[in-house]
Amino acid sequence: MREGPNVNSAGTAIRPRTEAAPSGALDETELLERVKARDVDAFERLYRIYQPRLARFLINLLKRPQLVEEVLDDTMMVVWQTADSFRGTSKLSTWVFAIAYRKALKAKARWPDPIEDQAEDTRVSNDPAPDAELERSRVHDALVGAMTDLSAEQRAVVDLTYFHGLGYREIAEILSCPVDTVKTRMFHARRRLKQALSGTLADWL
């Protein structure tokens, strides 16, 4: 299903990103022009492009599915209502994610993270499993637990970098903070991720 990896000048394999391809980006700009002209069908197409990416981004920040739905809807309502104000100085995705991030922080202030037995999700199951599968599941559980321990700001940077494949300048725009802050957050966050995974990633450490 995946495309073959691209290779940059250093011979570094680059995974295909979740970012829209250049042709997709053109489509989005076109869609937004139609949204500005109050075209609901175009807005639905835009919603369908952004819904999965925003849902993923927001669940990492908010932890409450009901709140994710609310913030996602609010975000897309702002896109609909203020489409005219998008001047194209940044990418459309940067603008949409920035709205979602601000809305998420406001919602978080109203509804702090649910208090849970966080360790519960990171405990390793005692069920017998093949070695490889067990190792996979250990890494997965450790990562889920480690992400929970990060601050919301750190989670946002980590997820936007590793999953959404965004550059640090774009992340700085979304989070409305200096680029050095993004680098510092990432630096500390991955140090903590590395610590959390230290028992599972012998090959990488």
Binding site: N8, A10, I14, R17, V144, Y162, F163, G165, F187, L193
Partner: protein, 222 residues
């Protein structure tokens, strides 16, 4: 020592900070050159790049929506006590509801004069059969933590369709009756009336213009 890396040195720190975006292919120009040049001489950062690539793979497979959903569902699975009690009482109620509804469907024919006589005979039979089945449905033990045993009904009644809730409440109140169950699918209600005055209460209920029928259901005569 020529190979010693000074982790506090600015070039090392600058390059190391950029490694996540180097691994995702987001660096260009001077920044890409800086990192590549540094990697050539820093084994620590080369290992770090391997870690970054591993993280990218892991995050591609992370599904926080599913993980959160599963954690939520698992918490429900791990709280079995209240769920079991609820299931047991629901099962009993719906089973009994069915018996009552079967009774009531037959009793409904009372409103049609042509079959009234036949229905009267059926009512007598159903009342006895219902009693037998109901007694069998009673739990023979009282589990710790289970809900109090429901008060058993001794009258089944049906009301005219245009009876309001407040009228129904008034009828129950004036007859000292309490609601045990219903409405069933046939709109019948199970009532508990004082055993000692049941015959009188039944007569009063039958005389009420809102009551279509009122029958004893536990087969006892008081």
């Amino acid at each position: 020592m020529p190979n010693q890396i000074d982790f506090e040195a600015k070039p090392h720190h600058d390059a190391e900070e950029l490694l996540p975006w180097y691994a995702t292919g987001q660096l260009q120009g001077d920044e890409l050159a800086l990192v590549e040049q540094h990697l050539a001489s820093c084994a620590h950062c080369r290992r770090q790049v391997a870690f970054e690539r591993h993280m990218i793979d892991e995050f591609a497979q992370l599904t926080p929506e599913v993980d959160n959903g599963w954690a939520r569902l698992k918490r429900r699975l791990e709280a079995p006590q209240p769920l079991q009690v609820q299931q047991r009482s629901q099962a009993r109620q719906s089973w009994w509801d069915k018996v009552v509804s079967d009774c009531a469907e037959l009793l409904q024919s009372v409103t049609r004069p042509a079959v009234a006589a036949l229905a009267a005979a059926q009512v007598a039979f159903v009342a006895i059969a219902g009693t037998l089945i109901y007694s069998l449905s009673q739990p023979s033990y009282q589990a710790l933590g289970s809900a109090p045993a429901p008060q058993s009904a001794n009258v089944i009644a049906m009301f005219r369709a245009d009876t309001t809730e407040s009228q129904l409440n008034e009828i129950l109140r004036t007859n000292g009756a309490s609601l045990v169950g219903g409405p069933t699918s046939a709109d019948a209600y199970l009532l508990r009336v004082p055993a000692v005055s049941r015959e009188k209460t039944l007569a009063k209920l039958r005389a009420d213009k809102h009551v279509l029928m009122a029958q004893p259901i536990d087969g006892k005569t008081s």
